[in-house]
């Protein structure tokens, strides 16, 4: 599938942050779906198979990014996930690591942001390809 751009779901309850993430991802040649709430995110996950999920840890009304990852993984077990967070307790970081979820601490270095996405999308493609064929 050389023509299809990698689909990336990006969730953040801060609109300005979300917009800039979406713009950067578009600029880098991804196909981002940017949503502000966990509810929207969950419905997006229901509809689409994403190549990468990027969620802020704390979402509206004490929802967390982990819920979204869980739902998405129930559909596509190997989908790469990145947890975005300004502050994270040890427990959260440990939980993420245990589930094979990458963690990026805000403010995120753009280079690190992009290289992490690239690495994960590529590895996810490899696996999908392998499982598809």
């Amino acid at each position: 599938m050389p023509s299809r751009k990698p689909r990336v779901l990006i969730v953040d309850d801060e609109a300005s942050v979300l917009v800039t993430y979406r713009m950067i991802l578009e600029q880098q040649g991804y196909e981002p779906t940017a949503v502000l709430s966990s509810a929207e995110a969950l419905s997006a996950v229901e509809k689409t198979d994403f190549d990468l999920l990027m969620c802020d840890l704390s979402l509206e009304e004490s929802h967390t990014g982990f819920e979204i990852f869980e739902v998405a993984r129930s559909r596509t077990p190997d989908v790469p996930c990145v947890l975005l967070t300004g502050y994270a307790s040890h427990e959260a970081v440990q939980q993420a690591e245990a589930s094979g979820i990458a963690v990026l601490f805000k403010p995120i270095d753009i280079e690190e942001f992009l290289s992490t996405i690239e690495t994960l999308v590529r590895s996810g493609h490899g696996k999908q390809k392998a499982s598809g064929e």
């Binding site: 800039t20 950067i24 300004g86 502050y87 307790s89 805000k106 753009i110």
Partner: protein
């Protein structure tokens, strides 16, 4: 020799002598008078009696000590004849004993062989006038005179003169008569015997004087020997203080030596004599009969001054006349010197004693004011001294008998709890005293009467050894740890509060940072999106915007780091925190080619915030890693991971326990060392100030500041050593809290 009185008496005697000689032949009188010794008289007498025509004569002498009678001189008397007169005064049946007892001459019939009568004449020591001794002593109890005037029965015990102590003599002259002796013959015999007795009495007295003189010579020579053998000078002087006699020891000072007569010696003798004479005069003036005086004389031979103590006593003759003065001098030079030394030593001793007393008072004051109970015990672990605080805990020491085993006062007067205290202490002291250690620390639980509670005391003991290396005393100081503990607890609480405060500050900073974070994220992303779309004239502004935004982002990230952890204060294991942190950074360190060395000791638990200490370690590890980052020319960061060898340097994390005096508490030391670029000397001074960094734009300058704050809040100590180009060592000491 003869006094005028005596001459007058002898004139009176002369005519009597003349009268007596009438019937005695001139020859006999001459022979008797020519006799020089008393024992010549009896042989002459018997010869003259036989010469008068009597057949035989003998003299039987009475031993006035034993009363025995035996012949001492005889003529024409065979042995068997003589034996008849071997008798004794108490054998009254013997006729001559009767005559002797009666002291009356008698003619005894039929006593001689052939029935012839004998004439028996008793003689005894007698004289008409008193002897010289009685005369001189003005006594008239002369035995000779008594015998002369009152011829009595002969009694042994009476025949010793009470004046001159001389024993008299007594004898019986026995003459054998013809069958019919004439009156004239008897008278002639009587006169001859009386004359002989008269001479005998005189010679007997002379013998007595002679014997006496000989005895006196012996006594004198004995006294001389005694006097000469005395080491001290002895001098006998007359009333004019002229020397009568002196011993050799005295001659050394008062007589010019014969062998070497020098002018100096002569002058010394002269001076000594003058001094001695002056001393005697002053003693005489002082009036007392016995006197002593110190006198310094010069030893004529040695030339040394000798200090004497002269003791004088007057000497008297037997008739009470003062004959002179005996002076004995004792060499007291050494004695006086010793005396002076003793006095000097005594005063020195007093001074020393005073010093010791002051020292002791000072020591007592110190002991009483130490504020901790102090126990001094002897080498047998018996309590000998307690300070007032010690007495509160263990009762008083019986001061009249320290160390007699009873120790403190009688048990019945004490609270049973105090006795229990003492038992605990004694058991400890016994163990310590007989152990091989010279110092000991420990703890003891004792009842404290003041607070009426049991309290744990910290105990330190030491030994004092005597010259032989035996334990002379032990000293034990107790410390009431409850007060100390309270203080420690208070400190800990305050520290906890500080840690909490720090955490609260961190939370506040975190909240602010969090609020700033999202806008920051948007701004940062926006700036990234603007890249390449800015007009060339705006690029400088764009660069400032980008750079400063990145800086704010780092600060926010650092501040978020403080808040990122859940804050729990309690005890934790530092080694676990170290392992956690190193694991967290493991990948980064490996990627940088840094070799990590761990040297973790066995540690007691630390009280504080594990998260904050993790923060400290993280900051230090990140700093170390950054300081050892490979030069940019070395290629990309990813390239390093392929090198199996660690070329990026070494990180050493080491910790160990520094026990306190009790062996348990103290400190835990943590060292974090790297072989990185190090810090310049000027920088070290301000390394822990906020917003100071060696990393330029990459650093926030908050890391070490946060480290310092956390360590201070934990009551710890933080030190850094660094050498540019060689590395940096951080040393952290954290207190171990009870």
């Amino acid at each position: 020799m003869a006094s005028p009185q005596m001459r007058a008496q002898s004139v009176e005697i002369m005519p009597q002598v003349e009268r007596r000689s009438q019937l005695t032949s001139g020859r006999a009188a001459y022979r008797l008078i020519a006799a020089e010794r008393a024992d010549e008289i009896f042989p002459i007498l018997v010869e003259e009696i036989v010469g008068l025509g009597f057949p035989r004569a003998l003299v039987a002498a009475v031993d006035l000590e034993s009363g025995e009678i035996r012949p001492v001189a005889a003529l024409n008397c065979p042995k068997t004849y003589q034996q008849r007169f071997n008798t004794a005064l108490w054998q009254g049946e013997n006729p001559i004993v009767g005559v002797l007892r009666a002291m009356q001459p008698a003619v005894l019939p039929k006593q001689a062989p052939g029935g012839r009568p004998i004439y028996c004449h008793p003689i005894v020591y007698r004289n008409r006038t008193v002897c010289w001794e009685a005369e001189r002593e003005r006594r008239f109890e002369c035995l000779a005179v008594a015998n002369y005037h009152a011829p009595r029965r002969l009694e042994l015990q009476e025949q010793v003169c009470r004046t001159c102590n001389m024993r008299a003599y007594a004898a019986a002259v026995v003459v054998e008569l013809n069958h019919k002796p004439t009156e004239r013959q008897i008278e002639q015999l009587r006169q001859l015997i009386e004359l002989a007795n008269r001479y005998l009495a005189r010679l007997f007295k002379v013998d007595h004087y002679y014997n006496r003189m000989r005895d006196m010579d012996v006594t004198i020579s004995q006294m001389q020997t005694v006097m000469q053998s005395m080491a001290d000078p002895v001098i006998l002087t007359d009333s004019q203080h002229r020397v009568i006699t002196q011993n050799k020891a005295a001659e050394r000072f008062f007589k010019v030596p014969e062998q070497e007569v020098t002018e100096g010696a002569a002058r010394a003798v002269e001076l000594n004599n003058m001094l001695f004479s002056a001393a005697l005069s002053s003693m005489a003036v002082s009036g007392s009969s016995d006197a002593s005086r110190d006198l310094t004389l010069v030893d004529v031979l040695e030339g040394e001054e000798v200090l004497f103590e002269a003791v004088s006593a007057p000497s008297y003759s037997s008739d009470g006349m003062r004959t002179g003065l005996v002076t004995v001098m004792r060499d007291v030079t050494d004695l006086r010197r010793a005396d002076q030394e003793v006095r000097a030593n005594l005063s020195r001793l007093r001074e020393a004693e005073e010093l010791i007393r002051q020292d002791r008072d000072r020591l007592n004051m110190v002991i009483e004011n130490v504020g901790d109970p102090i126990i001094v015990a002897d080498g047998a672990a018996r309590i000998v001294l307690l300070d007032p605080l010690g007495q509160e805990l263990f009762g008083r020491v019986n001061e009249s008998k320290p160390g007699d085993g009873s120790g403190p006062i009688a048990a019945e007067e004490l609270d049973p709890k105090i006795i229990k205290n003492r038992v605990a202490l004694t058991s400890y002291l016994t163990n310590f005293t007989f152990s091989f250690v010279s110092k000991d620390t420990g703890s003891i639980r004792l009842y404290q009467p003041g607070s009426k509670t049991e309290i744990e005391y910290d105990m330190r003991s030491g030994k004092i050894f005597d010259a032989r290396g035996q334990v002379a005393f032990t000293i034990t100081v107790l410390r009431d740890l409850s007060a100390f503990r309270k203080l420690e607890q208070l400190k800990l609480e305050r520290r906890m509060l500080e840690i909490e405060k720090f955490a609260a500050t961190g939370r506040l900073a975190g909240t602010i940072a969090h609020e700033v974070n999202n806008p920051m994220e948007a701004i940062k992303n926006a700036i990234h999106l603007l890249q390449g779309q800015v007009k060339p004239t705006g690029e400088a502004v764009y660069d400032i915007l980008k750079k400063e935004t990145e800086r704010v982002a780092r600060i926010v990230r650092q501040m978020l780091g403080l808040y990122r952890h859940s804050e729990q204060v309690g005890t934790f294991d530092l080694n676990a925190v170290v392992e956690d942190t190193l694991t967290l950074f493991n990948r980064q360190l490996e990627r940088a080619g840094i070799h990590v060395e761990r040297d973790l000791g066995k540690l007691p638990p630390i009280v504080g915030s594990a998260d904050q200490i993790r923060q400290v370690l993280s900051n230090l590890v990140v700093n170390a890693k950054d300081s050892m980052a490979p030069p940019a020319t070395n290629g990309s960061a990813g390239g390093d991971a392929h090198h199996p060898a660690h070329t990026g340097g070494r990180l050493v994390v080491r910790n160990h326990h520094l026990p306190g005096p009790d062996g348990v508490h103290g400190w835990v030391r943590l060292l974090v060392a790297d072989t990185g670029s190090g810090m310049p000397r000027d920088f070290l001074k301000s390394a822990f100030e906020p917003f100071v960094s060696t990393k330029g734009e990459k650093g926030t300058g908050l890391g070490l500041w946060i480290v310092r704050g956390i360590i201070q809040n934990h009551g710890g100590k933080l030190k850094v050593r660094s050498k540019l180009g060689q590395g940096t060592v951080f040393m952290i000491d954290l207190p171990v809290v009870r």
